[in-house]
């Protein structure tokens, strides 16, 4: 999931989700970055509205987590 997390960090900070930025973040986290996964991720996210995907998740009561917490 680290590639997805990295994309979401960039999304939060308003930085562009491109190969360079993703690689930087993952590098900094000590990930042995696979270029192909970064490429694939950028391509896959091209038409995804991240904020919408996130807010849909947020609309669901954070089940187990919240309960357990």
């Amino acid at each position: 999931m680290e590639y997805v997390y990295a994309a979401l960090i960039l999304n939060e900070t308003g930085e562009e989700i491109n190969e360079d930025n993703l690689t930087d973040v993952l590098d900094a986290a000590g990930v042995d970055v696979e270029e192909s996964r970064v490429k694939a991720l950028v391509a896959a996210l091209e038409d995804v509205d991240i904020d919408e995907a996130v807010s849909e998740a947020a609309a669901v009561p954070a089940g187990g987590a919240a309960a357990g917490g």
Binding site: V4, A43, V48, V54, A57
Partner: protein
Amino acid sequence: MSAEAERKTENLPQWKKEEVGELEQLIEDYESVGIVGITGIPSKQLQDMRRGLHGTAVVRVSRNTLQVRALEDAGLDDLVTHVEGQVGLVATNDNPFTLYKELEASKTPAPINEGEVAPNDIVIPEGDTGVDPGPFVGELQGIGANARIEDGSIQVMEDSTVLEAGEEVSADLANVLNELGIEPKEVGLDLRAVVADGVLFDPEDLDIDVDAYQSDVSTAAARARNLSVNASFPTATTAPTLIAKATGEAKSLGLHAAIEDEELMPDLVSKADAQLRALAAQIDDEEALPEELQD
């Protein structure tokens, strides 16, 4: 016909011989023959019932001794013991189970009189009797019903069994039942036993539980579906399920392995977000959390 039976019949008057002969013919003509009780059926009603069965079954009433003779002659000794009281022969080419169902369905409720034996438990149901307050409440209590006056009428507080099956109906009980319009008897042709293709069936055998069969059908269908899907043998019925299953598996793998696929991305993003929230929920220090996640 056995030699002994032959001899017995020879001693009968002509009309009885003919009657026995007709009964034997009836037994011979149909696949299933049974004994039905006709106790308490007014003759008019009995005629209606016989007419109602027209085409599916024939009911023939005659003296018990003659019925016994005919049954013995036909080798249906299993049925002889059931010839007792007011009975008749029933003959059908129908399935005996179907016959039983039809006879049961044609039974009608009837009042029970003083001195009769209850065929089943007699219950006064819970509820408003609709009877104005008066001595009737005492009569109800007298026969063992939990009754009292409430909201301006006589109420029965709970289902009250006032007589058990096999017990005799008292005059008081008959009065109360009559007053309430309760008809505890089921009157109709009461199938006591049937021999179909040489096999004897008692009413208990014939009383099939349709619900259980219905549930069996559902179970059988579910099993076939399960097998089809679990063995990946597609049928027109299960192909959509197999497709859905394969799709679900691919998604499941994709989410588990965080595969960078366009279709999976919304769910992967959601998953990451859910994980983030789950982790945040474990963090007590609000300072450590962004505003969105603070409680």
